[in-house]
């Protein structure tokens, strides 16, 4: 297991999974030029599910979640998010992007804006929320990620862990129904990983639908209800975490787990 064992007691009272489908991906394929990055992906995510996607680098896991909010374009198959099909129609893309929040490996905070402005930018310009209200929402989420006192600083003045928590708060300000995490802790120092993971666990406890690309197996064990292993652009194995870690079926999965867990 990861050295970062999750110590706290996790409250699962809100973590119910409804029958409603949040994301539906059917026979999706993607190519970069001639390179076949995603091969025949089929995935159904219920509302309230917490899915961890892992796999070796270059396996297409980041590309997969980036397809979900159209940061990458897929070439065949369907992606349906919240009942809206993702096509090149700008209206659909806008609708989906305002429902789906995303956190990046390198935070991507806007360096020219204060923390508060980072958080209010999208609500004001996309959701047309009055500034005062947007600031209240922002402060609410900043308190949630435990950095309300940094609201008037600039991103450059914050530590990596704090920046990533701001990035999470910034996404939450749009009140998304789905959150995507693209390796949120891999650019962080060990002591900062914990504060970010704690924030993510809290989010899970509130019943957020989450898709998370990460190598934090402790987090997967504690929070996820499904772990997906990808290699060579395809889903190799998926299972609920306990079974996934203790009884992997595929040879590739076994090899990957032995490397990452250091057994």
């Amino acid at each position: 297991m990861s050295e970062l064992a999750i110590e706290r007691q996790i409250d699962r009272s809100h973590m119910t999974i409804s029958d409603e489908v949040a994301i539906q991906i059917n026979n999706m394929n993607k190519w970069y030029g001639q390179f076949h990055v995603l091969r025949d992906i089929n995935l159904t995510v219920q509302r309230g599910e917490r899915i961890v996607i892992c796999g070796p680098s270059g396996s297409g896991k980041s590309t997969l979640i980036r397809c979900i909010n159209r940061l990458e374009e897929h070439q065949s198959g369907d992606i349906i998010v919240d009942g809206t099909e993702l096509t090149s129609d700008l209206k659909n893309i806008d609708k989906i992007r305002s429902e789906v929040g995303m956190c990046f490996q390198h935070f991507n905070l806007f360096p020219h804006l204060t923390i508060l402005e980072n958080c209010t930018l999208a609500p004001i310009w996309v959701r047309k929320v009055p500034r005062k209200e947007a600031e209240d929402i922002a402060m609410h989420y900043l308190e949630k990620v435990k950095i309300p006192d940094q609201a008037h600083k600039y991103p450059g003045m914050l530590s990596g862990g704090q920046q990533q928590r701001v990035a999470i708060a910034r996404s939450l300000c749009m009140k998304p129904r789905i959150m995507l995490f693209d390796e949120p802790t891999s650019a962080l120092d060990p002591e900062m990983i914990k504060e970010v993971l704690d924030t993510m666990i809290e989010l899970a406890e509130e019943g957020m639908t989450m898709l998370c690309v990460t190598h934090e197996m402790g987090f997967a064990q504690a929070v996820a209800n499904r772990v997906i292993f990808m290699d060579q652009g395809q889903i190799i194995e998926q299972n609920e975490p306990h079974a996934f870690f203790n009884d992997p079926q595929s040879d590739r999965t076994k090899l990957f787990l032995s490397q990452i867990l250091g057994h």
């Binding site: 190519w31 001639q34 390179f35 091969r39 065949s76 209800n225 194995e237 998926q238 609920e240």
Partner: protein
């Protein structure tokens, strides 16, 4: 744990092999759709661009395609266009001007028999640059050649006796010895002071006298032989010139015949065109043949004329030298007396008039007699200086052992642009480094001077500095010193480039991690050692792209020297246009000059870009 474990369990049985993207996602169609027509705005942009491109090509391609390369003048170009293609003046380019004058655009008026010298220097320049630009792959010893190259190059270009560059280099050796001795007895300051003093003394006092003595020795050792040779030149050359002139007359005859033949053909062909039919291919090939032959004969004529001119020049040179040889004993006999007379006259001057260089300087209220005495003394002094100069010049001309000297007046074209650009950058590097260090230093006054120098140089346009060089530099130097315009321009350009180089190197110093400075200090190195061994090598390496960019800018700016009368390519194009046969040729010259600049600047720019990328990778 989870209520839907059964539904999520999934293991892939067989891997999906990679497949080709669907047809509409690949090939030219996809490329066009993605790159040219991905939306109405993009499509519009593409169509507008294609329209512009087609328009441009339709205007330019025929002009290049129909260009005339063999013709003796713009009129002949037009004639050729008219009879062969039925085109008007602007229907095709007249690149004949380039095939006629390209050597001039490259070398200016540098003597043709010595073209090998600038070419050799150009090649050697790359040899000298190689160890600096590709330090990893070449032996360190090659750096010595890089250091010697400036002296070698200067000698090759300007010519003169072979020992002059050696004497100049010896000045650095003397300086280094002075530095060592000074360092042993008087510390760092003593070292610098003694080093500079030693080199200065060598260059200003020892070198001229050694140089003069060597020239005199060589001249005297072969004076009888020289005299005989010169006398023979006076006898043989006129005869040769007569022969050449006879041959030239014959060639002229031939040219006249060919021209007449061509004129007849032109009339016929134009008549055919007038009648609405294309001239026959026989006529066309006959015309081309005549034009080719005409060009050959014309070249022959020009070459003969050139030889005759050289022979004539040799005669006048020989006359001059013989007169010098005659006069030398008299000059040498007169000199001591003249010196004594001048010294006596100076001693007799009233107080307050010593050290004056002009009668304009006399204080108010000086008696007319005193002014006359001063004037007489100044004349006598000038006479002494003239005698000195005459004797020295005579021996130098008679005793030269090496390459024929070429005056800066004859330098021109791209050669001049290269010389000014390269000399400016190379000479400005040491000064630029010092300025950058001074600007970084923790010494407010020194820093202030450096900042003032850099900002003043950069705040004023180069053209103003060039006018300063051509009009004002003589004011700033001691009275009666004057040196040639190319040298003055090189000095000014060096100072100009130094300010820009200093800023580039400052950037390089700032980009170095602070740890490097601290590590050097902690090793116990003193300031200069840490700079020389640790900091500067790294900072200079990072700065190379910036230095190359500065060079590109400077190289383009060398065209400005035309404005103060030097023969840069653009100014040469004016002088080519001033010749009757090429009056009115603009575009062909602009295209050629522009293309040469473009090729050199673009490739250097790419090099610096490549280097920048490489350095960035190296730093990660």
């Amino acid at each position: 744990m989870s209520d839907n474990a059964q539904t999520v369990r999934y293991v892939r049985e067989s891997m999906i092999p990679p497949s080709e993207p669907p047809l509409k996602e690949q090939g030219a169609v996809k490329w066009m759709r993605e790159n040219l027509f991905s939306g109405w705005k993009n499509t519009l942009l593409s169509l507008v661009s294609i329209y512009v491109l087609v328009k441009l090509l339709f205007a330019l391609v025929p002009w290049f395609w129909n260009s005339v390369w063999t013709a003796g003048s713009l009129n002949e170009c037009r004639e050729t266009l008219a009879v062969l293609e039925g085109l008007t003046t602007h229907g095709g380019a007249c690149f004949a001007v380039i095939s006629d004058r390209w050597l001039q655009l490259l070398f200016g008026f540098y003597p043709a028999e010595s073209y090998w010298r600038p070419i050799l220097v150009f090649i050697l320049m790359f040899v000298a640059l190689a160890p600096i630009l590709f330090s990893a792959r070449l032996p360190k010893q090659l750096l010595w050649f890089s250091i010697l190259f400036p002296f070698l190059g200067t000698w090759l270009l300007w010519g003169g006796s072979f020992w002059v560059p050696i004497l100049v280099i010896l000045g650095f050796v003397v300086g280094a010895v002075g530095f060592k001795i000074g360092g042993r007895f008087a510390g760092a300051f003593g070292a610098v002071a003694l080093g500079i003093a030693g080199a200065a003394l060598w260059w200003m006092i020892a070198m001229p006298s050694i140089n003069g003595a060597l020239h005199k020795a060589v001249a005297l050792s072969r004076i009888d032989g020289t005299k005989a040779e010169l006398l023979e030149t006076l006898v043989t050359n006129p005869a040769q010139i007569d022969e050449i002139e006879a041959e030239q007359a014959a060639v002229q005859e031939k040219i006249n015949e060919l021209t007449a033949e061509k004129d007849v053909l032109v009339v016929e062909m134009l008549a055919a065109r007038e009648a609405g039919s294309e001239p026959s291919s026989d006529q066309k090939s006959a015309f081309n043949a005549i034009m080719d032959e005409l060009m050959v004969e014309r070249r022959h004529y020009t070459a003969l004329g050139f030889t005759a001119f050289k022979l004539q020049q040799a005669i006048s040179d020989a006359n001059g030298l013989l007169a010098n040889i005659e006069a030398l004993p008299q000059w040498e006999a007169d000199l001591p007396n003249a010196i004594v007379t001048a010294a006596e006259m100076e001693a007799a001057l009233p107080d307050g008039l010593h050290n004056l260089v002009s009668v304009n300087q006399v204080p108010a209220g000086t008696s007319p007699e005193a002014v006359d005495a001063l004037r007489a003394y100044l004349d006598a002094d000038t006479a002494v200086l003239n005698l000195h100069a005459n004797i020295e010049t005579a021996y130098e001309r008679l005793g030269i052992l090496g390459l024929a000297p070429v005056t800066s007046r004859d330098f021109g074209g791209f050669m001049l642009a290269m010389i000014i650009g390269v000399a400016g950058i190379v000479l400005s590097l040491p000064l630029g480094v010092l300025l950058a260090l001074a600007r970084q230093a923790n010494l407010p006054i020194v820093k202030g001077f450096a900042v003032a120098f850099i900002e003043i140089i950069r705040g004023v346009p180069l053209i103003v500095w060039l006018f300063t060089a051509s009009l004002l530099l003589n004011y700033f130097l001691p009275p009666r010193t004057s040196f040639d315009l190319v040298l003055r321009v090189v000095i000014m350009v060096t100072l100009f480039a130094a300010a820009y180089i200093a800023e580039v190197i400052r950037g390089g110093l700032a980009a170095l991690p602070k740890g490097q400075f601290e590590a050097a200090d902690s090793l116990g190195l003193d300031y200069w050692k840490s700079m020389r061994l640790i900091v500067l090598p790294q900072a200079l390496k990072i700065s190379i792209p910036g230095i190359v960019n500065t060079f590109i800018g400077l190289f383009k700016d060398t065209t400005l020297v035309g404005i103060i009368g030097l023969l840069d390519p653009l100014n040469l194009s004016n002088s080519i246009r001033a010749a009757a046969e090429w009056n009115g040729v603009y575009w062909e010259l602009f295209v050629f000059i522009g293309l040469l600049f473009f090729v050199s600047c673009f490739s250097m720019g790419r090099y610096s870009l490549w280097l920048e990328k490489k350095l960035q990778r190296g730093h990660r």
